[in-house]
């Protein structure tokens, strides 16, 4: 591992100069404990909260009237619900990639962004999880998906990718939650010891569970954390693979392809890093933590985005090639329909957002200037949403028989629920940065030169 404080090859350091164990602790814990709630936070949270109310209203109306209020029909039975599900769950993947895979790869720069990236994962998976439930039609019977002994003498069908999906997503949420919480324990102990307010002391104290930083505890803690990272790594790759099976196991032209798993995983990480940047850029500015989330983090994330974006581009090329090369008339038509059919403008927008525009990241300026990077990330998020829209809607709306062709138009309720989940995600992030340390304090301490000295002894 290179010395993270060293400026090598002219790139920004992982952590600004002049910090000590004490000042790092004070700076991050003061954001939660002593800094007054800013007007900006109140306005931001207020707006997100209003959007959550729109979401609740839309869900309430959905429960009252059923999925008929959406634009879904036959042939397009999946519509926005599945588009948004795949989009959100993909966004979550960057959090696990940062916290688990980069830990195993000893990328110490991850230490300052893993905490809020993991929180982002949790909230994104929570938003994702809503959609299949709402799409059930009878959401109050969702527990039929789980294998439990019941009086109906029935069991779930374990040969169905939809059942695999239930297990993959619920395992992913559970493991992400415990991983995030385990990471928080030492920092909660720090907050418990720093808090002046009695209620804060009690709440943080209970959550910290009496953590006292014993060397024996740290030893077991590090082992458990490393093993969890090792377990989460194949998990995160499996989750989007299983999500892609929802499509790839089906026979619909445009879905039935073997490239889906790797290309879905790459796309997930692509959109996930875009969301990390969309969150990190304003957070580091408004909370003045540019010394912890430095240009180096922005640049590294931009490079991951560029690399995964190219894998996604390869996926598109291969998809098109196989559609042609298969010689299958339905597959051929799927490609033709994407390029010339009624949704063609969306497909061209997708190619522009996901493949053309992100190529500016080859230029260093776009990787290091926050505003440009923010805009490119928004573009990638839009592009990845369009990708899921194309995969779900364009494939379904014209399949084998002309007589069963149709069109899909989202209704205002589709939009209300989609935008509502964005509000829910934002509101949860606002609460998170206000009440929990958004940067891992104890992992930042290990990046200081004083902490590195022990190893060189």
């Amino acid at each position: 591992m290179d010395d993270p404080t060293q400026v090598e090859t002219g790139r920004a350091p992982v952590i600004g100069p002049g910090y000590t164990f004490g000042t790092i602790t004070d700076k991050i814990s003061s954001i939660v404990l002593t800094r007054p709630t800013s007007t900006g936070w109140l306005i931001g949270f207020g707006i997100s909260f209003l959007i959550v109310m729109v979401l609740l209203y839309a869900i309430g109306y959905l429960f009252l009237r059923g999925v008929g209020i959406w634009g879904v029909n036959i042939p397009v039975g999946w519509g926005f619900a599945i588009v948004n599900f795949v989009w959100w769950i993909g966004i979550g993947h960057a959090g696990t990639l940062i916290s688990a895979i980069l830990l195993l790869l000893r990328q110490s720069w991850r230490n300052s962004i893993n905490r809020f990236a993991e929180a982002m994962t949790l909230f994104a998976v929570a938003c994702a999880g809503l959609f299949p439930l709402l799409h059930l039609g009878r959401p109050w019977l969702f527990y039929w998906l789980f294998p439990y002994p019941n009086s109906m003498n029935y069991w779930p069908q374990f040969r169905s990718p939809l059942v695999w999906d239930v297990f993959a997503v619920s395992t992913y949420f559970t493991i992400s939650l415990v991983f995030w919480f385990i990471g928080l324990i030492p920092d909660l102990a720090t907050l418990r010891d720093r808090a002046q307010n009695r209620i804060a002391q009690i709440v943080y104290g209970m959550l910290a569970m009496g953590w006292r930083g014993s060397a024996r505890h740290w030893h077991r803690y590090e082992t458990a954390y490393l093993l969890l990272a090792g377990l989460a790594t194949p998990l995160v790759l499996s989750v989007h693979t299983v999500v892609s099976f929802d499509f790839a196991i089906g026979i619909v032209p445009g879905w039935h392809t073997t490239i889906f798993p790797p290309y879905f995983v790459a796309g997930a990480i692509y959109s996930g890093f875009a969301m990390v940047l969309v969150l990190a850029i304003p957070i580091r500015k408004f909370y003045g933590v540019e010394d912890f989330i430095t240009e180096r983090h922005l640049e590294n994330s931009a490079m991951v985005m560029l690399a995964t974006g190219l894998i996604v581009a390869y996926g598109y090329v291969m998809e098109g090639f196989m559609n042609w090369y298969s010689g299958n008339v339905y597959e051929n038509y799927n490609l033709w329909n994407r390029l010339h059919g009624p949704y063609a403008p969306w497909y061209y927008a997708l190619l522009f957002c996901n493949i053309v525009l992100p190529q500016v990241l080859w230029i260093r300026k776009f990787r290091t200037q926050p505003l440009w990077l923010f805009l490119v990330s928004l573009d990638v998020l839009l592009g990845m949403w369009l990708e899921r829209f194309i995969i779900v809607v364009v494939s379904l709306h014209r399949d084998f028989l002309n007589s069963s062709w149709g069109m899909y138009y989202p209704t205002r309720w589709d939009w209300a629920i989609f935008i509502g989940t964005i509000g829910m995600f934002a509101a949860a992030m606002f609460l998170f940065i206000r009440i929990l340390p958004m940067i891992s304090i104890f992992e930042l301490r290990t990046l200081l030169p004083e902490a590195e000295e022990v190893k060189s002894e």
């Binding site: 602790t25 458990a224 989460a232 998990l235 004083e450």
Partner: protein, 178 residues
Amino acid sequence: MKRARIYGLMAEFDTPVEIVKAARVTYEAGYKKIDAYTPFPIEELAEAIGFHKNGVPLVVLVGGLLGCSGGFLLQWWIATISYPINVGGRPFNSWPAFIPVTFEMTILFAGLAAVFGMLALNGLPMPHHPVFNVPRFAFASKDRFFLIIFSSDPNYNAVRTRAFLETLAPRSISEVPD
């Protein structure tokens, strides 16, 4: 009033290098019942206090094996015994289709075993512990490093142990009441 029992003697250090050195010297001086408290993990410190192996990996292995076998057996039992469905004459035990859920169950059980196993072996949650009686201990979660020699150590002696700790040049020494 009876005088409070002493849980141990605690020395405070400023840097990770100092505490690792102090822990090594203490362990070599014959004190085996010792512990150290730091604001972040220091690998060398666990070794310095003579703590080499921990039970977490075994717990995770057992959790993973349970999840794997339990997940597969559940699906196998459902598909072949409890609720067999004939799909075009294909075998009931269509094991390749059971791999994704078996895999997810392995990860789920192993992951939960890692978390709860680690907490249980650490004896957490434990809201109160004698070391919290020392006011300066609040800095153990910030920027100070503490070494404790427990009074249960056979070599422990209130006077001699304090004199020994003083030779390590700590920032402060405190008695930890039980």
